[in-house]
């Protein structure tokens, strides 16, 4: 259920996102999922999972970017009402805080999400016990 994610620090300026994607394309790296978070004024974090994390990391570092590899929990749940709530409830009842989450690519009838918490190991244990939650293999 654990997957490696890249986080890239970006100043809030035009064209930066494209630069990152350009570098990945040049290195034949496929972006599987992506999300952007910002502080509302001057910087943003570009988070993504890619086809070759190590290669992407090296390529971006080589271009002087501030990049970091983080392990996130990647799971899929059936695409139906209440699925998401079930897992979030399980996590919060175990007193674990979610730092961020975002949607990922998935098969039909499935919803895939990436979750980062302040206690990844414990969150994994919790999620293993929740019905219909499986690792996202995409």
């Amino acid at each position: 259920m654990l997957t490696k994610q890249l986080t890239i620090f970006m100043e809030d300026r035009e064209g930066r996102l494209c630069e990152v994607l350009e570098i990945l394309k040049e290195n034949d790296i496929n972006v599987l999922s992506a999300s952007i978070a910002d502080n509302g004024s001057d910087f943003g974090l570009f988070r993504m999972t890619v086809s070759d994390t190590e290669k992407a990391y090296e390529a971006l570092k080589a271009k002087g970017m501030m990049v970091k590899i983080t392990e996130i929990i990647a799971v899929t749940v059936p695409h139906r009402t209440g699925s998401l709530e079930t897992i979030l409830k399980a996590i919060s009842e175990a007193d674990i805080n979610i730092q961020y989450m975002y949607g990922m690519a998935s098969e039909d009838h499935q919803a895939a999400i990436a979750i980062k918490t302040d206690n990844q190991e414990k969150a994994l244990e919790v999620l293993k016990k929740v019905e219909h939650v499986t690792a996202n293999t995409n």
Binding site: F9, E11, N39, F43, L45, K68, Y100
Partner: protein, 432 residues
């Protein structure tokens, strides 16, 4: 109008003979009363008798911030502590503040000098003057206050921080003069305009100092407020506002040469140069008792014009400053050194990241943005973690320089220049 015509309009010969006599006296005093000065003179192979007049000035060693730091707090005092009545201080390059101590007579002479400056700006005993400088360790508030009282004007000691109250009292008390920093005056002017109070004020003159400003700013405040604005110069180590001021001719600031002996040196070599060539202003205090300064390096770059002025005064004029020979910045009237910012950043986790100070002036208020490069060691993949980092930097800066700075996290390598050298300051205010 001239406050003290006998002094302010002396012939060059008279000025120089007073300066020579006073220089000999002050050198004797510091040699016998201040161990630090005595040792410095001895190290230079000098005895008091070697200084016979101003022509021997260049033989004397300089006094610098480093000397003040080494003797902090009272090591340069030339009188017993019981004779001292006041301390003023401003921030220094590193830990220790620059401090100056005054005797009662020093305070009186300072008031006389400030009164000369105010008279030069056209302020009289009939004026109601608001002092909008900070009162405290900073010399601005008390310096302008004592000068205006000595002159006999009605003083309203506003201090800083409450613009609303200041403009209300300006209207209620029908203030005719104000002493404050130029950027603050522009802020006051805009406040008056926004409150539609401009036609209710009787202000006619402003005496602005404590930070560099331009003729453009003078024009702005004169147009907005229908006043005359004058530039006043002072520095904590010598004495606050009152060292020099510009007259209605606006061709430089008359410096009170009977109390302050100015010279220009080449900041690189330390050699005294023709004062019409731009260099560092060096001042020797001729009458100070508490803490006389011998050849104090102000780090301000300027030239001196000794020709008589159309206003009738003969006292030399220092020209508007053309810059600093060190890296000090004056932000909202506060002296700030990049080294202070560096030291503050060091407290975050033990090493200094690349940083850049961006100083600007928006709506007539100085702004400071400190850009800090995000490095691996404090890169969090969580927005909150990064915001905590900027919060930490912000409070460290507030503690170190006493100013609220905006902290901006930037990508690595953004601040390094192509020549490999990192520049630490970008000042967009164009003040010089």
């Amino acid at each position: 109008m001239i406050w003290n015509e006998a002094k302010e309009c002396m012939s060059r010969d008279e000025i120089e003979s007073i300066q020579s006599a006073r220089l000999v006296k002050v050198v004797n005093r510091v040699y016998h009363n201040v161990e630090y000065y005595r040792k410095k003179m001895q190290a230079a192979g000098l005895e008091p008798g070697d200084i016979k007049g101003i022509e021997d000035l260049s033989k004397l060693p300089f006094t610098t911030y480093e000397d003040l730091n080494a003797t902090y707090p009272f090591g340069l005092a030339a009188v017993p502590k019981s004779e001292l009545v006041r301390v003023h201080a401003s921030s220094g390059t590193t830990g220790k503040p620059k401090i100056a101590v005054y005797t009662r007579r020093d305070i009186d002479i300072w008031a006389e000098c400030a009164a000369r400056c105010m008279t030069m700006a056209g302020i009289t005993r009939d004026d109601v003057i608001q002092v909008g400088y900070g009162y405290g360790l900073f010399t601005g508030g008390l310096g302008a206050h004592y000068g205006a009282e000595y002159l006999g004007a009605l003083v309203i000691p506003m201090s800083t921080g409450n613009t609303e109250k200041l403009v209300n009292m300006m209207v209620d008390c029908q203030a005719t003069a104000i002493a404050c920093t130029p950027s603050y005056l522009l802020h006051v002017a805009e406040t008056l305009r926004d409150k539609k109070l401009l036609d209710k004020v009787k202000l006619r003159v402003a005496l602005c100092g404590a930070e560099p400003w331009t003729d453009n700013m003078r024009q702005q405040m004169e147009d907005l407020l229908h006043i005359k604005a004058f530039d006043i110069y002072g520095l904590t180590e010598i004495c606050g506002p009152g060292v020099a001021t510009d007259c209605e001719c606006h061709k430089g600031l008359h410096i009170w040469e009977d109390h302050f002996l100015p010279e220009i040196i080449d900041p690189a070599t330390g050699e005294q140069i023709d004062s019409s060539i731009c260099g560092e202003l060096v001042i020797t205090t001729l009458t100070k008792e508490g803490m006389p300064l011998i050849r104090y390096r102000t780090k301000d770059l300027t030239t001196i014009d000794k020709t008589p002025c159309e206003c009738g005064r003969t006292m030399a004029r220092i020209q508007r400053f053309k810059g600093r020979s060190d890296d000090m910045l004056i932000i909202r009237g506060v002296n700030v050194f990049p080294s202070q910012v560096e030291a503050a950043l060091l407290t975050i986790d033990g090493t200094t990241p690349h940083y850049m100070m961006v100083v600007d002036r928006k709506n007539n208020e100085d702004t400071l943005e400190v850009q800090v490069e995000v490095e691996d060691r404090f890169f969090s993949d969580d927005v909150r973690g990064l915001e905590e980092l900027s919060g930490k930097v912000r409070s460290a800066l507030k503690r170190a320089i006493g100013l609220n700075a905006k902290v901006k996290l930037v990508e690595p390598n953004g601040l390094v220049h192509s020549d490999g050298k990192t520049k630490h300051v970008t000042d967009n205010r164009k003040l010089y």
